[in-house]
């Protein structure tokens, strides 16, 4: 596709359940980011993938959070045993990275944990 695609756009789940969020970056973009945005707040960095390098996981808030990316394609963010404080919009972005450059964002996945 032409842009970054995220799915699902909305997810409502019960506390304790696992959820998986998907991101399809722009073709050819080597860098992929996941951010979390709570209501009315800024973007909180979660994890960063750059090509075949080891990802930077420094922003993952707990071991319930994990993410994978196969090569330079799709990424999935998994949250295990969801808690109410996990409720947020999860934003994915990709860039064709030479140093740093413009990020292209998806529309986000809104997660609500009841």
């Amino acid at each position: 596709g032409a842009g970054v695609s995220q799915s699902p756009s909305n997810k409502v789940t019960e506390k304790g359940k696992d959820v998986e969020l998907r991101c399809d970056p722009i073709s050819g973009h080597t860098a992929l980011y996941w951010y979390r945005q709570r209501l009315g707040q800024g973007l909180e960095f979660l994890i960063y993938f750059q090509g075949n390098s080891a990802p930077d996981k420094s922003g993952l808030p707990s071991d319930r959070f994990s993410a994978e990316r196969t090569g330079e394609s799709v990424s999935t963010l998994t949250i295990q045993r969801t808690q109410q404080e996990d409720s947020a919009v999860y934003l994915c972005a990709s860039s064709f990275l030479l140093g740093t450059g413009e990020l292209f964002f998806g529309e986000g996945s809104r997660l609500t944990v009841l």
Binding site: V4, Y33, Y35, Q41, G42, L43, F45, Y48, Q50, S53, D56, V89, L91, A93, L97, G99, T100, G101, E102, L103, F104, F105, G106, E107, G108, R110
Partner: protein
């Protein structure tokens, strides 16, 4: 922790007025970017300014960068109701042990332009 911090947190102006938002950051950067977010949507890139640049223009946008003060400003001239959105600055930071960089965002300024 947040690298960039915008102020004010909220700004309300009348259509036609200019809007100025500021961003301060803590560590040395390679570049600084400004993004816009309409309510409930993804972010859209507005402008990038490199650390060796002091001012950049794009349409009604003007960005300044003062690396000595570790601050940047975004000026929107002749604002329109459609400019209503949240505006975020983003700064890069070198990742430990490598030459890669990641972008970290501030908390944003909510701009409301009243018709």
């Amino acid at each position: 922790s947040q690298q960039g911090e915008e102020d004010p947190q909220a700004l309300s102006i009348q259509e036609g007025e200019n809007a100025t938002m500021n961003c301060s950051y803590k560590t040395s950067i390679n570049n600084l970017q400004w993004y816009r977010q309409n309510s409930g949507r993804g972010l859209v890139h507005l402008i990038l300014i490199r650390s060796n640049e002091r001012e950049k223009h794009s349409g009604r946008l003007r960005v300044t960068l003062d690396t000595s003060k570790k601050s940047s400003s975004l000026l929107i001239t002749a604002s329109r109701a459609a400019d209503t959105a949240s505006y975020f600055c983003a700064t890069d930071a070198q990742m430990s042990g490598g030459s890669n960089y990641k972008l970290t965002f501030g908390k944003g300024t909510l701009l409301t332009v009243n018709p």
